[in-house]
Point group: C2
Chain length 388, copies 2
């Protein structure tokens, strides 16, 4: 037996193999792991389906795909969205991502000094957009079954009438919680009684791994008390930047005028691609694939956390991208996030999402990483906690 | 000889053929002809090149094409633009069309009540965007060699310092005029001396049919006195909605923050497609094709106008999409545009582009129609004028 072969014999590793294992371990340990950003990993995006969609868009409808078109968006996609929600196409505007839709909505409905009810915690970009618009934010607690509607009742009874209540009803960002049907009914009653608009911000609705989908607030509304937003960032890809709003014909007309002034028309190439992606059936397959992957990831995340960091508390989400984890009161997650960063783990401290800066929670995103990275990420989180 | 054959003999047409000719003539006469909108006809868009670009984008760089990326835009396109203009990538932001770039620039630089110098006539959407921003517009005459810089000197000497001067230097919309080098030098001197920013709005620069390109104001500036905007709407396709700004690192950083808040990131799919379209060589071929077509169209437009409506005055543009035509003083082009519309011809009355509502000019766009439609369009314009 030659020297080369002998290396692979017996239980002991040769020096070279041992070095390789050490190097591989170091490599794993220093690979940055992102449990921070709410973005999908490339493996759950249907790149081939999008290639086919691009060809279809440019072959079947080159004129509308490449022309200016209307600020309301690519008409066939607008009609498809209208059909999904059981409304008229005139009640839909398709925008360059749903943040842009939010910005138009806030410009149309929220004046400087107006009160806007928001969930606490809530999506940091939306809180910033509302603040930039001059809104007075009234943050009410978010519970595992959604906004604290009793707290809202108290605010309304005190004589404060908000211009808007911003609600992320499904698999909320950052908490992962879902608004119960009982609270949906209460919230709609409150909006009708007190005359405010509910902004139903619903980008995660298609990402349910278990349980039954609850009807949208929009579908349960009676008098235009809801404006609804969603997005194809999570079901097709973020880079297509296609989102939309559904509302009354009046508000959509008003927002279409704002959109015309801002950019003449939105991205027709991307909207036409999304439409062909849907038409081909790739959209439904993509949602199934995304949900299977996210479901497996959240299982690994939950079991790893329970095993490695038993003092952590969380409600395992039934869908979406995010899990909200809470540490004992004395843990400062601003400091913890910095420790994590030193260990090559990106997380987002809870204070980013809270107006009152509570300090013992983190948002963990399981959308951007595979299961092995989740296990390693939880290891690092545990180490960071011990180092604190 | 049978009856069928006899129909094709001799000089007289049979009744059936005569009917067909009448029908065809009616069809031509009632086909809507648009000399109104500044948009390219589909035949001068390289659809196949864009199909190949979409495949390349999704094959070569799926991760950045489909991800969120940065609000500054798709990095390789940003770098390509920076190289074109001899600046650093940090001086470029790629946006969802150049109107969106304008809106960010105005939000950053123009406060309510600030004076902004504009050309008269000028692009109606820009005038509206500036007015919406609360700017006080100071319209100065546009001459065949560009802005009346003597008039600007008088304004500056009177003690008015504008925040911005908006200039469309090449093949201006709506006039088709180009700013001379002598006036470029004067304008830069004025900006330096009086401390205002020149907004060089240059979407038509690549569409030159004859003569030599003049250096951009940006390339001749010394101390960040110019912010430059352009677009791929005219050289690739409007539906890609890709425009950009070039300026100082500071202003681009400030605008990137506005863009982040507005839409997180612009359309990466479209920007990656545009980049691959450029890389493949299709971009240069597309510009050649567009210019050959536009040059032929403007020749037909000019000769048809000279032949059919000799009382009309115009300066034949050396590039771009638009020709500005002026009628005798007593012709009201608001009324003329309505007459044209009755005859199935869309034109835009000059008053849309003027703050002082001069009434005897029209903008004719030769971008969206073939040569035969231009001939027929001029026929209708002549008829409308006679009917007035």
């Amino acid at each position: 037996m030659g020297k080369a072969q002998s290396r692979y014999k017996g239980t002991g590793m040769s020096e070279e193999i041992s070095d390789l294992v050490t190097m591989a371990t170091m490599l794993v340990e220093t690979t940055p792991i992102a449990l921070a950003r709410g973005a999908p990993s490339l493996d759950i995006i249907d790149v081939d389906g999008l290639k086919a969609a691009a060809q279809a868009a440019l072959t079947i409808d080159p004129e509308r795909t490449l022309g200016y078109g209307s600020a309301a968006g690519y008409e066939p996609l607008r009609e498809w969205i209208a059909t999904c929600h059981g409304v008229k196409p005139e009640q839909v505007i398709v925008t360059n991502g749903s943040m842009q839709a939010d910005a138009f909505l806030f410009a149309a409905l929220v004046g400087r000094g107006d009160t806007v009810v928001v969930e606490s915690p809530s999506y940091d970009r939306t809180l910033k957009a509302l603040s930039d618009q001059g809104a007075h934010l009234r943050a009410l607690p978010l519970e595992p079954d959604g906004l604290d509607t009793q707290a809202l009742a108290a605010v309304l009874e005190s004589g404060v009438t908000p211009a808007l209540a911003h609600i992320i009803p499904n698999f909320q960002n950052p908490a992962g919680y879902t608004l119960s049907q009982a609270k949906r009914t209460q919230l709609l009653d409150q909006a009708r009684t007190y005359g405010f608009t509910i902004f139903e911000d619903d980008p995660y609705i298609e990402l349910r791994f278990s349980g039954e989908r609850l009807p949208t607030l929009l579908s349960q509304s009676q008098n235009d008390e809801v404006v609804y937003a969603s997005s194809f960032s999570k079901t097709v890809a973020p880079g297509v930047r296609v989102g939309y709003l559904v509302g009354s014909t009046d508000i959509i007309e008003q927002i279409t005028q704002l959109a015309t002034a801002a950019y003449i028309s939105p991205n027709m190439v991307a909207q036409s691609m999304v439409y062909q992606f849907i038409e081909s059936g790739a959209y439904d397959r993509s949602i199934d694939k995304v949900n299977a992957a996210l479901s497996a990831r959240v299982d690994v995340l939950a079991s790893s956390l329970q095993e490695k960091i038993p003092e952590i508390a969380f409600t395992k989400p039934l869908g979406g991208y995010f899990m909200w984890v809470t540490f004992p009161d004395d843990v400062d997650t601003d400091k913890l996030a910095t420790k994590c960063s030193d260990l090559g783990l990106a997380v987002v401290q809870g204070s980013n999402f809270m107006l009152d800066k509570a300090r013992n929670s983190l948002r963990l995103a399981f959308s951007a990483v595979g299961e092995d990275h989740i296990v390693e990420g939880v290891e690092r989180l545990g180490r960071a906690l011990n180092d604190l």
